[in-house]
Structure formats: C-alpha cells, structure tokens
C-alpha cells in the first residue's frame, strides 16, 4: 500500500474536497458517463444508497466545482477547471488500481490542531506555513 504513487493533484483533491467513499463513488459514477444526466434517485438506485444522501453528495460535489446541475433538476459531470478535471481523472485511475490506498488517504486526513489554531488566530498578518 504505497502512498507515494498517488499523484499530488489527486492528494490535494482528496485533502480539500473528498470526505468519504460514498462521495468518491458518486463522483466516479457521473464521471464514467459524462454525457448522461443523473437524478438523485438514479444515483441512489445505482449505488444502493438513500436518495436523500445521494442528493446531499451531489450538491456537495456541485459546490466543489465537479458537477453541474441541469434544468431538469439533475446533475451532470462537468469539472470547472482543467486542473480539477485532471485530478478527477487521476482519481478514477487510482480508484481502479489502488482502491485501498485511496480510501486510506481519505480517512487518514490529519485533524485540526485546536491548540495551534488558537494561537494562530491571534496573528494579524496571515502568512501560512512556518511558525
């Protein structure tokens, strides 16, 4: 299970946007058929999850810029930026080849350091990174 083989843009995508396996499954389902418009019910049927949960995931992915909504109230895969599209492509590849690695990356995101964040809140000049 080597995490070094995961490309950086995918790593960033996971850190910034992807919180669960369900989310990845929904995203890849729509990514696999980019011309097709999906309703929440259709997604729920295909993945065998609750429709309300499917709707929530679809909305979250749309807010993240990976899906667009259609006039009929459905969703279609449409990554806003080429960098995002590339990352989702990497996700599809990695999920096919190294599913366990991807999943463990999703669930091993470091939790916010509360104490450190408390001290940082008093910094008036925000330069991220060191210190």
């Amino acid at each position: 299970m080597s995490q070094d083989e995961i490309p950086d843009n995918l790593r960033t995508l996971i850190n910034e946007q992807l919180d669960s396996v369900v989310q990845v499954e929904v995203l890849l389902l729509l990514h696999a058929q980019p011309a097709r418009e999906f309703s929440a019910a259709a997604v729920a049927r295909e993945l065998r999850i609750e429709a309300a949960g499917a709707e929530a995931q679809l909305q979250h992915l749309r807010a993240g810029g990976m899906l667009e909504s259609t006039p009929a109230g459905g969703y279609r895969y449409a990554a806003r930026a080429p960098a995002l599209a590339a990352a989702v492509g990497e996700l599809a590849r990695a999920y096919a080849d190294r599913r366990v690695t991807v999943i463990s990356l999703i669930y091993s995101k470091p939790r916010t350091d509360q104490v450190r964040t408390f001290a940082d809140a008093f910094r008036l000049r925000k330069d991220k990174g060191n210190g």
């Binding site: 104490v115 450190r116 408390f118 001290a119 008093f122 910094r123 008036l124 000049r125 330069d127 060191n130 210190g131």
Partner: protein, 98 residues
C-alpha cells in the same frame, strides 16, 4: 450595599464558581504552554489566574469596586492579554520560525 440576602449570596457563589473556572482555564493554558512552548499560552494562563483573583477578591469586598484599587487587578489581566497578542505578532515578524 442594601441588596436582599439572596442576591448577595448568589453573587458570592457565582464569583466563587467563576474564580474556580478561571483557575482551571489557567491550568489548561499552562499545559498548552508546556506542550507547545508558545509564550502566548503562558501569558494567557497567568492572565486568567489574575482574572480569577480579581473575581475572588470581589467576593470579599463589600465596598465599591471603583473606590478601591480592585479594578487595577482587572487591568493587569487585560494588559497581559494585550501583551500576549502583541508579543505573538512581533515574534511572527522577527523570526518566522515560531
């Protein structure tokens, strides 16, 4: 002061609760200081202990807080907090390695 007994009692009790809470908060901040080495937490810890002392003293003082020197203690606590904030921002600019 000519307040009813229950008001005075409740007030003193509340001040005791607050003093205890400040003591505990100060302990947590000192623990963070030990854990991270960040001076802000030392300063905040002491500041909250001073605030706790302020409220503790208030429980014993019958006379007017304004006429006694007690507000100076509160001032010390908040000046410490201000110093902590200033100190953190000076350190951030001088040495980017906290």
């Amino acid at each position: 002061m000519n307040l009813p007994h229950w008001v005075e009692n409740l007030n003193v009790f509340a001040l005791g609760v607050v003093a205890m809470g400040c003591f505990v908060a100060g302990l947590f901040f000192l623990r963070f200081w030990r854990r991270t080495g960040d001076r802000l937490f030392l300063i905040f810890g002491v500041a909250f202990w001073v605030l706790g002392a302020n409220w503790l003293a208030l429980a014993f003082i019958d006379a007017d807080e304004v006429r006694t020197w007690l507000y100076a203690v509160r001032l010390v606590a908040f000046v410490l907090i201000l110093w902590g904030i200033v100190d953190k921002n000076r350190a951030a600019r001088a040495a980017p390695r906290d």
